[in-house]
Amino acid sequence: MDDDAVTIDRVLGGDSDAFRFLVERHGRAVFRLAYRLTRSQQDADDVVQETFLRAYRHLPSFDARSSFSTWLFRIATNSACDLMRRSMRHRTEELDEMSEPVVSDGDPAMRIGFRAALERGMERLTGSERTAFVLRHFEGMSIDEISAVLGTETSATKQAVFRAVRKLRQVLDPLVRAT
């Protein structure tokens, strides 16, 4: 039994404070995922909070045979997608708050260009494309794991990753060629 399984048993057994260990173990990763999906620190904070609340409330339904982090990521992804669907506000004013995508070229103008291009590219992605890409590219999850998170067939997940890459390349390739 791994650490998560032991902790979950404790929580379900009545030691509710043990839930803290799950928050400490996964909070940062959930934030990172939420931020990459929502592109907003404030939204990501909300998603983190909502994710752990939902996880706590539905902990009895967690199937211990699967990975807790995959289950948690699925909740976080759903929460982020819900939030993105409802959040119609324009993101451009938040551009300054965003962390910069790091490129090997240290030219500040080029970095700003990459940053804006990446943002434009991400805006073009559908929810499932963005999620699949973020989970594969940034989180390093396998196609099967992403399928579990999204609740989709493997072939659909592959398609989502591919379509995301294609759309991102449309805006990034010209800059890459220019470096």
Binding site: S16, D17, Q49, F52, R57, P60, V176
Partner: protein, 253 residues
């Protein structure tokens, strides 16, 4: 042999296995290798570490979460039963006291049920129990409505929400009666207002279609139900904490 498609290149880059023939082709075909190198360069440019988080970020999350979880019972399937049973007992107790108060020959007639709320002793046991039970009801209702508001049309599985609504519905009627009896009309009115929502979810059967979900979310939002629940919850929470200054902090979530 034809060249690798862009999709094959992308999936291969992300670790999906290629047929032996495609691997061999990739090694021998200059154009495919060039395409691969361009793809790798593009994807390598995308790094997004995200904002720097404080070193105690996890503790901050827990701190915020703990306050909310404290109002939640243990994550088990029987909280609603205990809550409803406690409320039923409470209602019986209220009825008993009210009955005593109305008996003509009672040597010490209580007029508790007729007293305005403001004149009641602030630490009355019955009030404290009522506050605690209703606070829990309001908190659970708020979380259910928040969860419903956050649902997207593609989330067709409402079984968890349906069960929660079903259980809240049972206790909602009892808590509403208690709130009225205890002279808390604003709480009773709010519980009254959310009851049709609970009813709809509890009877949603296999779920709600897109238009039903939209209509429900619109009703929740237009009436500001979540906000009202939060205000009442906060007021009750504050009232409850003022009553137990010397008691140890609750450790159950």
């Amino acid at each position: 042999m034809s060249h690798l498609t862009e999709e094959q290149q992308v999936l291969a880059h992300y670790g999906e296995p290629l047929d032996d023939a495609l691997v061999a082709h990739l090694e021998s075909c200059e154009q495919c290798r060039r395409d691969r190198d361009t793809l790798v360069a593009s994807l390598a440019a995308i790094e997004d570490p995200g904002p720097e988080l404080p070193h105690d970020y996890e503790q901050q999350v827990w701190h915020r979460l703990h306050w909310q979880l404290r109002r939640d019972a243990r994550p088990n399937r029987h909280w609603w039963l205990a809550s409803a049973a406690a409320s039923a007992l409470l209602l019986v107790a209220v009825g008993f006291l009210a009955g005593r108060g109305s008996r003509p020959n009672d040597p010490v007639p209580t007029v508790r049920h007729a007293q305005p709320a403001a004149e009641r002793p602030p630490d009355a046991t019955l009030d404290a129990v009522m506050t605690s039970a209703v606070t829990e009801q309001v908190g659970r209702s708020e979380r259910l409505l928040t969860s419903l508001s956050n649902l997207s049309p593609d989330e067709s599985d409402l079984e968890a929400e349906r069960l929660t609504a079903e259980r809240l519905l049972v206790s909602n009627r009892i808590h509403r009666a208690v709130a009225r009896e205890q002279g808390a009309p604003e709480v009773a009115a709010l519980l009254d207002e959310i009851e049709p929502i609970l009813l709809e979810i509890a009877h949603s059967g296999s779920g709600l279609d897109d238009s039903e979900l939209d209509a429900l979310q619109e009703r929740i939002e237009s009436r500001g139900l979540i906000f009202k629940l939060r205000v009442i919850s906060s007021t009750l929470e504050s009232k409850s904490s003022k009553r137990r200054p010397s008691s140890p902090p609750a450790t159950r979530l």
